[in-house]
């Protein structure tokens, strides 16, 4: 009997699969005015290191919401996990800027009443309503942490570099490690925007076909110099530990891990500027545990939780009150991760966003993520 019913489900599924038009438009229900009792459970899609015991356990204890987290390998994993079937499997996602807007436009997210998040008013102004999670004045989550993509180098074997040019220099053949991600094209574009102004690159995420081709050409020149395109943070950590690589495009996470391992490394913000990421805890439009989700947003934006996560992961909290607590956890970590830097610092980072065809120059002639991925596959060969 079961078999037959399953057959019908399968048939129905096949039929729907063939005719699956835009599903999952967010329901337009009103905003909650208060947070009710917790549902006892919270399901999250998170980056690794975002749901560590040290700050999840106190949350579970205080709210009774048991957290189960699924680690995503990439922004697109997050997007796929959130949108498959119109969502509903997960309550929240810690999306970066290159997934957050897509999630909003795909109707996967619900508007959040930031009035219910007490720590919200302590956020740096730039992160209260950033373009990555706020559209038309509607918030779809709360900003959590951000960080720059840095130039990492071995202080014993390399002179302190000042420019991204070090990663394109033939002298450094076989020493370089580069993230294995199409979004890396933006780093090349950022470098070109300063070194080849004739190309007219204004925003490294908004590239015309010619501009993309120029970035790809630069990256193809770089390829013979590359020791490893790292897919996992640990790839780069290993290579810097054992001397396989001495220069690389990196995250603060690797830097703090390497420092902890007593490796001789340093980081630089090169003169051309940096790309970076901003992550947001976003609420699913079909969250089954919305109260626990609100409790999580309330909790994770408090100075203490912010400081714990920042020092663990090596990134910058959006709550300005976190700085003082960071220094009590690890001395000097507030300054190390720029948690007290001036507003101009955040403004200088080109935060990740999804490359799309309709990129604001009015001509819809930009290259999209699909084109970037193909281009990246060409670069890697």
């Amino acid at each position: 009997m079961k078999r037959i019913r399953f057959g019908y489900v399968a048939l129905a599924a096949l039929v729907t699969a063939l005719a699956v038009p835009a599903a999952g438009v967010s329901k337009g229900s009103g905003l909650p005015a208060s947070v009710g009792a917790g549902e006892g459970k919270l399901t999250l899609i998170a980056w690794e290191g975002y749901t560590e015991k040290q700050w999840v356990a106190p949350f579970e204890k205080a709210t009774g919401c048991k957290v189960s987290a699924k680690y995503a390998g990439s922004s697109n994993d997050m997007f796929n996990l959130m949108t498959s079937g119109g969502g509903g499997q997960y309550d929240m996602v810690s999306a970066s800027g290159d997934a957050s807007l897509r999630l909003i436009y795909a109707g996967a997210l619900a508007e959040v009443n930031v009035g219910l998040i007490p720590s919200y008013k302590d956020f740096f102004k730039a992160f209260q309503a950033p373009a990555t999670n706020t559209v038309g004045g509607k918030h779809y989550g709360v900003s959590v942490q951000f960080g720059p993509n840095l130039l990492l180098y071995n202080t014993a074997k390399e002179k302190k570099p000042t420019s991204w040019a070090a990663l394109y220099d033939v002298k450094n053949k076989g020493k370089i490690t580069i993230p294995d991600n199409p979004i890396q094209i933006a780093d090349a574009a950022l470098y070109l925007s300063k070194t080849k102004p004739a190309l007219g690159i204004k925003d490294p995420y908004e590239l015309t076909k010619t501009q993309l081709a120029a970035a790809v050409a630069l990256l193809k020149q770089q390829r013979p110099l590359v020791k490893k395109y790292w897919g996992l943070a640990s790839d780069q950590i290993d290579l810097f530990k054992n001397g396989g690589s001495t220069l690389g495009a990196s995250w603060p996470y690797q830097y703090s891990q390497l420092l902890a391992a007593k490796a001789k490394v340093g980081t630089v913000i090169p003169k051309e500027g940096v790309t970076g990421w901003l992550d947001t805890w976003m609420l699913s439009s079909k969250a089954k545990h919305p109260n626990c989700a609100y409790k999580w947003m309330q909790y994770i934006s408090t100075p203490k939780a912010q400081a714990q996560q920042a020092t663990y992961y090596g990134e910058t909290p959006v709550n300005k009150k976190a700085c003082a607590i960071m220094d009590t956890i690890t001395k000097g970590s507030c300054k190390q991760f720029s948690a007290n830097a001036p507003e101009s610092y955040y403004r200088s980072i080109k935060f990740w966003k999804t490359p799309i065809a309709d990129c604001g120059n009015g001509q819809k002639n930009c290259t999209d993520l699909k084109a970037w991925t193909t281009a990246w596959q060409q670069v890697k060969g």
Partner: protein
């Protein structure tokens, strides 16, 4: 039979192959006792703390338990479907027979990511929420073929006259199954089940797409490796797993390589 030179050569060859298979595992085992979580060679010091760390980690225990349940259930499903398929295909010659065996081989012949993604969208569109059972279904797809192969190979080697004799002596089909067929295919089932469980136990790609917000052991390990932290814990888990699985694997091999096997 073989000349002495050949024999010596084969001994050397077999020794080298075993070394090739086991040196990486021995190194893995050594790193499980590494006092530093920086994995350089040789290790700077000796500790057993990673074993207690692993044991006290709730995530690790949950993942172990989930992997165990998923493996056992997927293996059970595979045993039923795989042996049914083998019975159906072993004697009869009918149209489409080859396509059917092709069908069963497909899940291991196709990249796991395709199976994984296909099942993921299938569950999602069908409104099936991810649970232990979606993992089991995902794993069963490629476990069935393992059981099927083992059972059908055994049936081919067994003369059909056994079953005929049983019928001639008045046994019903079900008595024949219990008294003749089951003993004949018993060891094949054990071997198939063991391999099926091993495949399920270690699967990452299909699991990733069918597990929802749960972590099986390989998914958890992938997380650890991605982050580059807790790596000695991973080695400690692997070492414990290999020691624990030694017993069932050895027993099954004893059982399946009966005295009749090989030279006799």
């Amino acid at each position: 039979m073989e000349r002495t030179g050949t024999r010596i050569g084969l001994w050397v060859w077999a020794t080298l192959v075993v070394l090739f298979l086991w040196i990486p595992l021995v190194i893995m085992g050594v790193y499980a006792f590494n006092s530093s979580n920086i994995q350089s060679w040789p290790i700077p010091g000796f500790t057993t703390k990673w074993f207690s760390d692993a044991w006290n980690d709730v995530e690790v225990r949950d993942a172990l338990w989930l992997s165990l349940r998923a493996g056992l259930l997927a293996t059970s499903v595979a045993l039923v479907l795989g042996s049914l398929a083998a019975f159906g295909l072993s004697r009869a010659r009918f149209f489409g027979r080859d396509s059917i065996s092709f069908l069963f081989i497909l899940p291991i012949a196709l990249p796991g990511i395709i199976t994984g993604l296909a099942l993921n969208s299938f569950f999602v569109i069908g409104g099936v929420s991810f649970s232990l059972w979606t993992i089991v279904i995902g794993h069963a797809t490629f476990c069935v073929v393992v059981v099927y192969n083992n059972v059908i190979a055994r049936l081919r080697r067994t003369s059909g006259s056994f079953f005929e004799a049983s019928a001639d002596l008045g046994a019903t089909g079900f008595q024949t199954f219990r008294l003749v067929t089951l003993p004949v295919i018993g060891t094949a089932l054990v071997a198939g089940a063991l391999l099926a469980f091993a495949l399920s136990w270690d699967e990452i790609v299909v699991t990733y797409f069918t597990a929802g917000a749960q972590n099986t052991l390989p998914l958890l390990i992938f997380g650890f490796i991605r982050q580059g932290q807790n790596l000695p814990i991973v080695n400690a888990i692997a070492l414990v797993v290999i020691v624990v699985s030694l017993i069932p694997v050895a027993l099954a091999q004893r059982l399946t390589s009966g005295p009749g096997a090989g030279r006799s």
